[in-house]
């Protein structure tokens, strides 16, 4: 077991991927000389050279499209986009091309592309750099959507994502890069299952990505008041692992979903809908959720904090559902 950060775990995973497979290369804005907007690829240019770590022009449409082409041509590209907000410029190559080509070619072509991007708020970067749009991608058949929320998942998810013959989109919450945790020796993981991060009996807190640490803190606070909750980390936003979620609900009968996205049309809404479909007769209280306020994420710190899911909101919502 070693102590490390989420950022370092990602960097190690990238280095390992570059070493393991000559078809793997990284490209994106500032990934080379600058070392990546969040310093994930720091030092890799020097070690692997410009052919494998490529700075691109400021055109998401262009370089993600190039990534799709490279994947079709037999490479294993890792494309980094600065934030999910900017990825909207690359929706066409991701949604219209990467996600569809296997189906439209009758299985003749696959697109083994990995697209990584930062997501989420909390750093006073205002409304154009702070949104959580994971649900946009989780909506689309043909791509797998991952949300590593622990150092172990940051270390472990890249290799299976590269091994997947179809496109994989990985969301890294910007507040997680500095997260420091013990990396267990068995950090290898799959990219198909949700994880029970904390076992409990009275209620299931279901969350993912940057909301996991807040949710774990809320669970601790509740435990100190004698309320025993389970925490489920979705990990894989598409396809959702309903077996793990349903098994938890069969035990606890109550759920609160914590999702930094807005309520309307959110992943939280999708999980709620599936709870109705799969677990209706296991439910002992209306399912509740803690999401971001339905406003563009504000710049001012106090307003930004007020707009996002926070530990006290999670605790209060759990208590309301339990009526305690």
């Amino acid at each position: 077991m070693t102590r490390t950060t989420y950022r370092e775990a990602l960097r190690t995973a990238h280095r390992e991927a570059l070493l393991a497979d000559p078809r793997v290369f990284i490209m994106g804005e500032d990934v080379g000389r600058y070392g990546g907007s969040y310093a994930v690829t720091m030092g890799l240019l020097a070690e692997f050279g410009e052919a494998r770590v490529r700075d691109t022009p400021l055109s998401e449409l262009g370089f993600v499209g190039a990534g799709v082409g490279a994947a079709l041509g037999g490479m294993r590209p890792i494309v980094e986009i600065m934030t999910v907000n900017f990825s909207l410029l690359a929706l066409d190559p991701i949604v219209n091309t990467a996600a569809t080509l296997r189906h439209m070619s009758g299985g003749q072509f696959s697109v083994p592309l990995v697209v990584r991007m930062a997501t989420g708020a909390g750093r006073q970067l205002a409304a154009q750099h702070s949104h959580s749009l994971e649900n946009w991608y989780a909506h689309v058949p043909g791509i797998r959507v991952l949300a590593p929320a622990t150092v172990a998942d940051a270390r472990g998810m890249l290799a299976p994502a590269l091994a997947d013959p179809d496109p994989v989109v990985i969301f890294e919450h910007a507040l997680l890069y500095n997260l420091e945790e013990d990396l267990p020796d068995d950090w290898q993981c799959d990219i198909s299952h949700a994880a029970v991060r904390r076992a409990g009996t009275q209620l299931s807190l279901i969350t993912y990505g940057g909301s996991l640490p807040k949710t774990m803190q809320a669970a601790e606070a509740l435990a100190s008041e004698g309320i025993d909750v389970e925490v489920i980390d979705l990990r894989v936003l598409r396809p959702l692992d309903m077996d793990t979620i349903a098994a938890s609900l069969r035990k606890t009968h109550r759920a609160v979903i914590v999702d930094e996205g807005w309520k309307s049309g959110s992943l939280a809404a999708e999980v709620m809908a599936r709870l109705m479909e799969h677990c209706f007769y296991d439910l002992d209280a209306p399912v509740a959720r803690v999401c971001s306020e339905e406003v563009p994420i504000p710049y001012a710190r106090h307003m930004e904090e007020a707009a996002l899911p926070q530990v006290p909101k999670i605790v209060a919502t759990v208590k309301a559902v339990l009526n305690v």
């Binding site: 009968h253 609160v256 807005w262 309520k263 309307s264 209706f280 007769y281 296991d282 439910l283 002992d284 209280a285 209306p286 399912v287 509740a288 959720r289 803690v290 999401c291 971001s292 306020e293 339905e294 899911p309 909101k313 209060a316 919502t317 309301a320 559902v321 009526n323």
Partner: protein, 419 residues
């Protein structure tokens, strides 16, 4: 416009399957007309409508299983135009599982929720609903399923969840408080069994009603031995010369005597619900009828006190026949205000009944047989007697009045010619 809803055809009925419509959109209907056939747990029942009108739209299709209170059809009142009615059309209520016996709590729209209020999992405000509209029991799905499994009446539970909702823990507490929870035989499998498995359904319905009775009703029991010599003699004379098909049975005399005795004891004839007794306006006697495949139903014989024996007897025979054929009318399923059970044919000495809620009394008759008797002069003789019993609800009446009722019944049976 008015709505025609699935009526409750007995305290134990939660839902029914619409088997057949007897009317179509556009048909004129009249008060008392049979408009549909509904399959309950017990039988296929003809459903009557109690208002004149014209069918505007059938809201439920044949084959659908819907809870009590579901709008089956919308109708226009006499003279009403379709256009005006449609403008005020209301959507069909959501289907539910439970009997609708709690004060309604409809969530009011909250401005906060529109703005994305994150910390409010359930609407906090509640507004009372117009009297007459039906309220769903506020109970979680898991608790509802558990209560159904245990055969618990959810309407009697107190909720500890958000907004007073009944939770799993409430059901489990109520179940633990029951003296003998293992006697509740209903299972989820039985609850979802197809209607064709009627025996299981009937068993479940009886279990539910009788468990509720023993759980909720403080019974008291009285017995009275009634000399039947005069009644037997009168019956033999009355049947002399009659063809077998029109002969009177002792059961008819007993029913008539009970109905007449009730005239002076209204506290035995009626319904106990929501913490109070509502006396019945007429003597609709529930007649316990055993079914050949097992189980029993106690449909109502209407206005027994008004019927001459020559009318009562064929009405009774018809009721027995239709009950066993599974074709009862809605009013017969729902109207009984007291039950009479007669196990004399089976040779039992006496029967002490279990009250069928929400009724408040049940009268039982054992076998009419020759037994030793001390006559008025103190001499020992042999006369035919019957043991009549009364089980009654102590919340409504007391043993003193019950005793007077049995004495009245005894005297009435001594004057069979007046019945």
């Amino acid at each position: 416009m008015f709505e025609f809803k699935l009526p409750s055809l007995g305290a134990d009925m939660d839902e029914g399957t619409l088997l057949e419509w007897r009317v179509q959109s556009g048909d004129a209907v009249h008060k008392g007309q049979v408009v549909a056939v509904v399959d309950t747990a017990k039988a296929a029942i003809d459903i009557e409508i109690w208002q004149d009108g014209t069918v505007l739209a059938l809201q439920v299709q044949a084959g659908e299983k819907v809870p009590v209170g579901t709008v089956l059809a919308t109708l226009l009142a006499p003279g009403e135009q379709a256009g005006a009615a449609l403008a005020s059309d209301t959507p069909r209520p959501v289907a539910g599982l439970a009997p609708l016996s709690r004060p309604p709590q409809e969530p009011a729209p909250s401005p906060a929720s529109a703005a994305g209020e994150a910390t409010t999992p359930v609407p906090q405000s509640a507004t009372p609903v117009v009297p007459g509209t039906q309220a769903r029991v506020r109970i979680s799905p898991a608790a509802r399923l558990k209560a159904q499994t245990l055969g618990l009446d959810v309407g009697s539970l107190r909720g500890s969840g958000p907004d007073g909702a009944i939770t799993l823990a409430d059901v489990e507490r109520a179940s633990a408080a029951q003296p003998n929870p293992s006697s509740a035989p209903a299972t989820p499998a039985a609850a979802t069994a197809p209607a064709t498995d009627r025996q299981t359904e009937i068993r479940r319905a009886i279990a539910s009603a009788m468990s509720r009775s023993k759980r909720e009703i403080p019974h008291y029991y009285l017995l009275e031995t009634i000399p039947m010599a005069r009644a037997q003699q009168w019956l033999a004379q009355a049947n002399e010369g009659r063809p077998i098909t029109t002969r009177l049975l002792m059961a008819a005399l007993q029913l008539k005597a009970v109905a007449l005795a009730l005239q002076r004891f209204p506290e035995l004839n009626g319904f106990y619900s929501d913490g109070q007794f509502n006396p019945a306006k007429a003597a609709h006697l529930g007649v316990a009828i055993s079914l050949r495949q097992g189980g029993l139903i106690a449909p109502a014989l209407h206005n027994v006190d008004q019927l001459p024996l020559d009318t009562l007897m064929p009405a009774l025979a018809d009721l027995v026949k239709r009950t066993r054929a599974g074709s009862l009318r809605q009013s017969e399923m729902a109207d009984a205000s007291i039950t009479v059970t007669n196990l004399g044919d089976q040779g039992v000495e006496a029967v002490i009944g279990v009250i069928h809620p929400p009724q408040v009394a049940i009268v039982g008759f054992g076998r009419v047989a020759a037994r030793p008797w001390v006559d008025a002069a103190g001499g020992l003789c042999v006369v035919p007697t019957v043991t009549a019993s009364l089980a009654a609800d102590h919340r409504v009446s007391d043993g003193h009045r019950g005793g007077l009722f049995l004495a009245e019944l005894r005297e009435l049976l001594q004057q069979p010619q007046d019945l």
